[in-house]
């Protein structure tokens, strides 16, 4: 697949009162997104995902570097870049007192559609997001999931080549979440390149062709799911439900051969272990010796969370 987007030494330096902090290392973020793929940017809240999307969509001016999208530079030809992208922000960026149809018409006009093309495309999008029956109701009267669907629909009005979705499943019910994930897959099957940011690793795992893990404004790992998992080797995550474990016990657990690290979070001890099932009996023996009550045990095969834990020393949702 050909490269569709190239981030070249992209960096944003914030000054007081918003900063000081930077998104991107000193040398800037370098990244390529291929045409027709779903690329996920996975990272905790505040990692810099939205800043990168904002720079890519022309909302923020990069302090350094550039984004070339579909052959156009965002710093030099921003309007040409914007013609090729649809942006679905994290917030419900809709006018609540307008209907879905009115919102779609408004943004369609701003994307350059007029007359019959506009009304025809509005109907198509309403059909796609399955809201034709409620098209003339005010957005304020919709459920959270319906609003999210309109939020996506607005970004599709001009048939963009690439769609940016910034945490589109935050604070919605499981059914609506499922609907959105299926929509993203369907759009991708139609040939649309997708940049998807999330802090839910399951979503990144399910959707992505490739994943970039971002933390503190830097992309710390990049590749397919398999490639990333391989970076943590054969390590499993053993979760021991153990209220208030003494530090000495945690230290002993960490000292078990083939256990790379032991750490505690809210009533839980997590062990990063090579071949976790083999190490489990020894871990339970140490806990029993300490006279502690073990409430539960869970072993996770290598996944993105383990990758993140391995790379940063903390869980993705911490």
């Amino acid at each position: 697949m050909a490269t569709f987007v190239k981030l070249d030494s992209l960096r944003k330096q914030y000054s007081p009162p918003d900063g000081p902090y930077a998104v991107g290392p000193k040398e800037g973020v370098n990244l390529e997104i291929l045409e027709g793929e779903i690329f996920s940017l996975l990272g905790p809240n505040g990692a810099g995902k939205t800043t990168i999307i904002s720079m890519m969509s022309g909302l923020l001016t990069p302090t350094a570097g550039d984004v070339v999208l579909g052959g156009f530079s965002i710093t030099k030809q921003p309007l040409d870049v914007k013609k090729q992208i649809g942006v679905v922000p994290q917030d419900l960026a809709l006018y609540p007192n307008l209907s879905a149809r009115q919102n779609l018409n408004l943004f369609g006009t701003l994307y350059g559609l007029t007359g019959k093309n506009l009304s025809k495309r509005t109907d198509e999008v309403l059909e796609f997001i399955d809201l034709k029956d409620r098209a003339n109701d005010k957005i304020s009267e919709y459920s959270g999931g319906m609003k999210r669907r309109v939020n996506i629909g607005v970004g599709l009005m001009h048939r963009p080549k690439m769609l940016f979705l910034d945490e589109p499943t935050v604070a919605i019910d499981p059914q609506s979440r499922r609907n959105i994930l299926d929509t993203v897959k369907e759009l991708n099957q139609q040939g649309m390149t997708v940049l998807y940011t999330t802090h839910y690793m399951e979503e990144a795992q399910e959707l992505s062709n490739r994943i970039g893990i971002i933390d503190h404004g830097q992309i710390i790992a990049l590749g397919t799911l398999d490639e990333l998992v391989k970076t943590v080797g054969e390590y499993d995550v053993i979760r021991l439900t153990l209220p208030e474990p003494p530090a000495l016990v945690v230290e002993r657990l960490g000292a078990i051969p083939n256990i790379q690290r032991a750490e505690t979070t809210d009533g839980e001890v997590r062990l990063i272990a090579r071949d976790g099932r083999q190490q489990l009996p020894e871990a339970i023996r140490i806990i029993n010796e300490a006279g502690l009550a073990l409430h539960g045990v869970e072993i996770e095969e290598p996944n993105l969370e383990a990758v993140f834990l391995q790379l940063t020393g903390r869980a993705l949702r911490d």
Partner: protein, 425 residues
């Protein structure tokens, strides 16, 4: 295409403004109700409204007479021009006239409310029994209260001089002569004086010949003051809602989303400005029509709430809305968030309304009268009242229009600069 996009952004604002029921109630029903209540409370001809000094021109050609020490024409000149009594100072602004033709044109143009022409043989004819002098009083029927005041003063003076003339010609000489002869004749003298006075009253020495120059007689109604005052005040409130919606858009990310479309950023701000302006203009037009209708229902026909000079009304309307839109945008541009924008706007616009005379005239209140000139409310209100109960024309409101448009230019420039600064990425 750009204009189409600007229209789309503006339309979204206008549509939302006029489909919000609570906003409609506040923006339309409130000013209408308040104006009608105040108008009904004061009724027509309220004295609570400030009355401007009457501009009176006096052309004194009176040559006097050897029989009297002072020409009667000089009395008019002294009272109306040279040394008005203290109680008249606030009501009269007199000036001596030398060119009658030019002065009559000034009356026609509204630069003079009343012109008094005293002929050369005035005193001579007044003191000659049976003849009587005639004063020409030119007035503009559209001059409203100031013109009425000036004519009343001239009427009063004329009555006094007529009475003095009776005493001069009949009472004092005859009574003195009879009293010198014998006391018994006094009763007969008094009877004679009464009879002669009655005859002289029937043919007064001075006749006022009133000449209306042009225009229709205008009835003053309190609604002519409070109607525009309330309409402008509530128009600025509605405009502030539109301006603060920029901050709401920023919070809700609709503004940023618009910026991700292939449209220059000016499209958004331009659309917002057009939307704010159109909202204010539409609200004012609806209120103006509603007040005309309501005034005729409540007070009967003939109350020209906004005056009759359509071009003048349109000029004041478009300029006061422009100034209001600019002012609302400036306030919003400095607010940190929509809540702060709403609170500050309400406070500033209410104070501006108070200072500008929306609730009570403040022209003659020390300091406030001067401060009011800093408000768009004052200039807009003054423009509308000049057209209504002052019976002014386009020429009379040009200074108001110029000041309001000047304010609009300054405010819009400030708002564009400040929004540009805060949205710089």
């Amino acid at each position: 295409m750009l204009w189409r996009k600007i229209q789309a952004v503006a339309w979204a604002d206008i549509y939302q403004a006029f489909t919000d029921r609570s906003a409609l109630l506040f923006n339309f029903a409130s000013p209408l109700a308040i104006s009608m209540i105040i108008g009904a409370a004061f009724g027509g001809g309220s004295n609570d409204v400030d009355v401007e000094a009457a501009k009176v021109g006096v052309l004194n050609l009176d040559a006097g007479s050897a029989e009297v020490e002072q020409a009667f024409g000089d009395i008019y000149t002294r009272v109306l021009v040279e040394a008005p009594p203290e109680e008249l100072i606030d009501f009269i602004e007199g000036k001596a006239i030398t060119d009658e033709k030019k002065a009559r044109q000034q009356v026609e143009d509204g630069d003079l409310d009343v012109l008094l022409v005293i002929p050369e043989d005035f005193t001579a004819k007044v003191i000659e029994p049976g003849k009587g002098g005639t004063l020409q009083v030119y007035y503009n029927p559209g001059a409203g209260i100031p013109g009425d005041v000036a004519r009343s003063i001239i009427d009063g003076m004329t009555t006094q001089i007529n009475n003095q003339n009776i005493a001069l010609h009949v009472g004092i000489p005859y009574a003195s002569e009879q009293a010198a002869r014998n006391n018994q004749a006094i009763d007969a003298a008094v009877a004679y004086v009464q009879q002669a006075s009655q005859q002289l009253r029937e043919k007064e020495a001075i006749t006022l010949n009133r000449v209306g120059v042009e225009g229709d007689v205008q009835e003053f109604n309190s609604l002519q003051y409070f109607g525009p005052g309330m309409a402008i005040l509530f128009m600025t409130y509605a405009l502030s809602n539109g301006a603060v919606s920029i901050l709401v858009d920023q919070r809700n990310w609709t503004m940023q989303r618009i910026w991700t479309t292939p449209s220059p950023r000016t499209v958004y701000l331009g659309g917002k400005m057009v939307g704010v302006y159109a909202t204010g203009l539409f609200q004012m037009i609806v209120l103006m029509l509603a007040m005309i209708f309501a005034a005729n229902v409540v007070f009967g026909s003939g109350v020209a709430v906004w005056g009759t000079d359509v071009i003048g009304i349109v000029l004041v309307l478009v300029s006061v809305v422009a100034a209001g839109a600019g002012f609302a945008l400036v306030i919003a541009s400095f607010a940190k968030n929509p809540d702060q924008g709403g609170s500050i706007s309400t406070l500033v616009l209410t104070v501006s309304g108070l200072l500008g005379g929306a609730f009570l005239p403040v022209d003659d209140v020390p300091i406030l009268g001067q401060l009011s000139k800093l408000t768009l409310n004052r200039w807009g209100l003054d423009g509308f009242t000049t057209l209504s109960f002052d019976g002014g024309t386009v020429v009379d409101i040009l200074p108001n229009v110029a000041v309001l448009l000047g304010m609009a230019v300054v405010f819009f420039t400030m708002a564009v600069f400040q929004f540009g600064r805060r949205f710089r990425s």
